[in-house]
């Protein structure tokens, strides 16, 4: 998987969550491309929220307004819809969102003990963000990795089974940048972008697409 466009580099290089702002010019183009994927543009609402989080780390007010205007709904519908979903944050979150699963399988493997250790190590309770905006801690429902219980996610990337020692190491690695290739900034869901659209189906079109920025093999 190679992703060599400037836009993605910029997203991946983001060190801190932003304090606000709308889509970048490039982000706006991607938002429009997302809408073009669906028969009804409102379907792109949630992907666009992810896109906004990829740019800012959270769903900013400006992006809410822009998404609303793009899909033709009210800002209240965008924020109301987004707030239904656990992954979408309407307030700034830390650079790393750590989600510790405590659901049944992880609990039976010591998830609450892990959570306590994590809280102690980070100095914040679950639901909180540290004051440097480095970490946000969440107690998560089953993350779907119960064979590695107790497990946790950092920015939606899996780690498990974990204990307090391996968590300490995880924090050290995050700080040193050793995990930069594994854990992108919060909000970046996929480092690979779709390069096809409804109008560029099939092999011939793909060949043409290849010469553009996001071409990949």
């Amino acid at each position: 998987m190679k992703q060599n466009n400037d836009y993605m580099e910029k997203m991946l290089a983001r060190k801190t969550p932003s304090t606000g702002g709308g889509f970048s010019a490039e982000g706006m183009k991607r938002a429009e491309a997302l809408m073009a994927l669906y028969p009804v543009k409102r379907s792109a609402l949630i992907p666009m929220c992810h896109l906004a989080q990829g740019e800012h780390g959270w769903l900013t007010e400006e992006c809410i307004e822009e998404i609303a205007a793009l899909v033709g709904v009210s800002p209240a519908e965008v924020s109301g819809t987004a707030s239904f979903y656990d992954m979408l944050h309407l307030e700034p979150v830390g650079q790393y969102v750590i989600s510790v699963c405590t659901n049944i399988a992880c609990m039976l493997a010591g998830a609450y003990e892990l959570l306590e250790a994590v809280e102690e190590r980070l100095g914040i309770a679950s639901g909180q963000t540290d004051k440097d905006m480095r970490f946000t801690l969440e107690e998560a429902e089953c993350l779907g990795a119960c064979d590695t219980a107790p497990c946790l996610q950092v920015n939606s990337r899996f780690f498990g089974p974990m204990n307090s020692e391996s968590f300490d190491k995880l924090i050290t690695d995050l700080a040193s940048g050793a995990l930069a290739g594994v854990v992108p900034p919060h909000g970046v869901l996929s480092r690979v972008e779709r390069v096809f659209s409804l109008t560029t189906k099939g092999a011939t079109d793909a060949a043409q697409m290849d010469t553009t920025d996001a071409g990949q093999k």
Partner: protein, 447 residues
């Protein structure tokens, strides 16, 4: 992810799991990839459907509805859609996660086969948002598949074209429910749709007929097309045909995924066989196990020798559901276990129906109070009564006062625990803490 499939002569959905690069097109093609789709395209739509019918492929998403039957219900209309349900969030379930992350091409191939059989030109794979790596690999695979012409215009030179969109979810269990998933895919909050209409196959995405199928269901299709429905049906037994991916977790030595022939393997095999679950940690005794995700009523020691068979499990009052088995040993606190499951439903209730929205919260609060030592004996009746407000009679299969079946899933764990382990509950209440506290290796406080 840990798992095994060597109980089988030939694994169906997990055959590439041994390869580090199982998710690449290169590996996929090297291991027979897209041959099923090529073959399907050489058949008529009816022929493909017929093979799926013969295979008796039960939906792997939880409800276990035969895929062939569902397909035949698709209302004829100028536009219809295929939506693949990869929202897998049922606690202790991690099979779709595996299939999306480790064999995305197989999923895409299956999806294309289904799209062809159904005559659908627009398909979506709704993937749980938390599976970021899976989404990444699936997106890459989708790009590759377009380039390889396995997706897109005139697939493999045929006159069949289809567009595929990988749609990321954003974190809500309820979006696994198919009508909620459709709402979410339309850009709305994930409120399940009220019935009637009863099936998306009549009115689904954008009001058009829509087939919603699970990731694992799709992943079986390339094999079925290549080997024939009969070959699939020859595995397993009766309606529980083929193999299934079981997700084993909890207090076992070897948690992980296991692709097993249905019916022929028993729960005891799964949990205790040295090549599978490997028995219970510390050789403790089993107290209870969940046979198919936390929505399912619990099973106990007496059920261990039952086959992994949809009908048998249903007859015994539970369900094979999402194929995830959670084992609780003799030291597990049933109050705490059922509290944690209740808490999950409370957090994940979408909020539409009063009984589910409020009932889940009330149950959670009572359970927590008992767990924390302030329980009253009469709470057990109260718990059952609140359960009754959500699922009248607390029966199986459940009746419901709610729109979707998340509601009546809430009582499953509570009713199982109270009905079968009432004494332990009472003991917990009397002591003000778990009677097995000293046996816990783990002591963390509930919250």
């Amino acid at each position: 992810m840990r798992g095994k499939n060597n109980m089988l002569n030939e694994p169906i959905v997990t055959k590439r799991m041994g390869f580090e690069d199982s998710y690449t097109l290169e590996r996929y093609l090297a291991t027979g990839g897209y041959e099923g789709l090529r073959k399907a395209l050489s058949m008529t739509r009816e022929q493909v459907k017929e093979e799926v019918n013969k295979a008796s492929l039960l939906g792997r998403g939880g409800a276990g509805f035969p895929a062939g039957r569902k397909w035949s219900m698709l209302r004829q209309a100028p536009t219809s859609y295929l939506v693949i349900n990869g929202d897998e969030s049922e606690p202790a379930t991690f099979k779709d996660h595996l299939l999306v992350e480790r064999d995305p091409h197989q999923l895409i191939e299956g999806t294309m086969i289904a799209a062809y059989a159904l005559g659908v030109s627009q398909a979506f794979i709704f993937t749980r948002g938390e599976f970021a790596l899976g989404i990444e690999r699936l997106t890459a695979a989708c790009n590759e598949a377009y380039e390889y012409n396995a997706v897109g215009k005139n697939i493999f030179g045929s006159d069949f074209s289809v567009d595929l969109v990988i749609h990321p979810g954003a974190g809500a269990y309820i979006c696994g429910e198919e009508t909620s998933l459709i709402e979410s895919l339309e850009g709305n909050r994930g409120f399940p749709r009220i019935k009637p209409p009863f099936f998306p196959a009549v009115t689904g995405l954008y009001g058009e007929p829509t087939v919603v199928n699970n990731v694992e269901t799709m992943s079986n299709l390339p094999w079925i097309v290549l080997n024939g429905g009969d070959a699939f049906a020859a595995l397993g037994q009766g309606s529980s045909a083929g193999t299934r991916l079981f997700a084993l977790s909890g207090r076992v030595n070897r948690p992980g995924w296991y692709e097993l022939e249905m019916s022929k393997t028993t729960f005891r095999d799964l949990i205790y066989d040295k090549d599978l679950g490997g028995g219970i940690i510390g050789d403790k005794k089993i107290k209870a196990f969940i046979p198919g995700g936390v929505s399912a009523p619990w099973f106990f020691e007496e059920h261990l020798d039952m086959g992994l068979d949809q009908d048998a499990v249903a007859k015994a009052g539970s369900m094979l559901g999402s194929g995830s088995v959670v084992v609780m040993d003799e030291t597990t606190c049933v109050v705490r276990a059922s509290w944690r499951i209740t808490r999950f439903f409370h957090r994940e209730s979408c909020g539409q129906c009063t009984p589910c929205r409020e009932g889940s919260g009330w149950l959670e609060k009572i359970m927590r109070r008992i767990e924390e030592g302030s329980g009253r004996p009469e709470d057990l009746d109260l718990l059952m009564d609140v359960c009754d407000s959500i699922a009248p009679g607390v029966t199986w299969p459940p009746q419901q006062t709610t729109i979707c079946v998340l509601g009546p899933s809430i009582p499953s764990s509570i009713a199982s625990a109270i009905r079968h382990l009432r004494d332990e509950f009472l003991e917990h209440i009397k002591l003000g803490h778990c009677p097995y506290e000293k046996d816990h290796i783990l002591t963390g406080a509930a919250r």
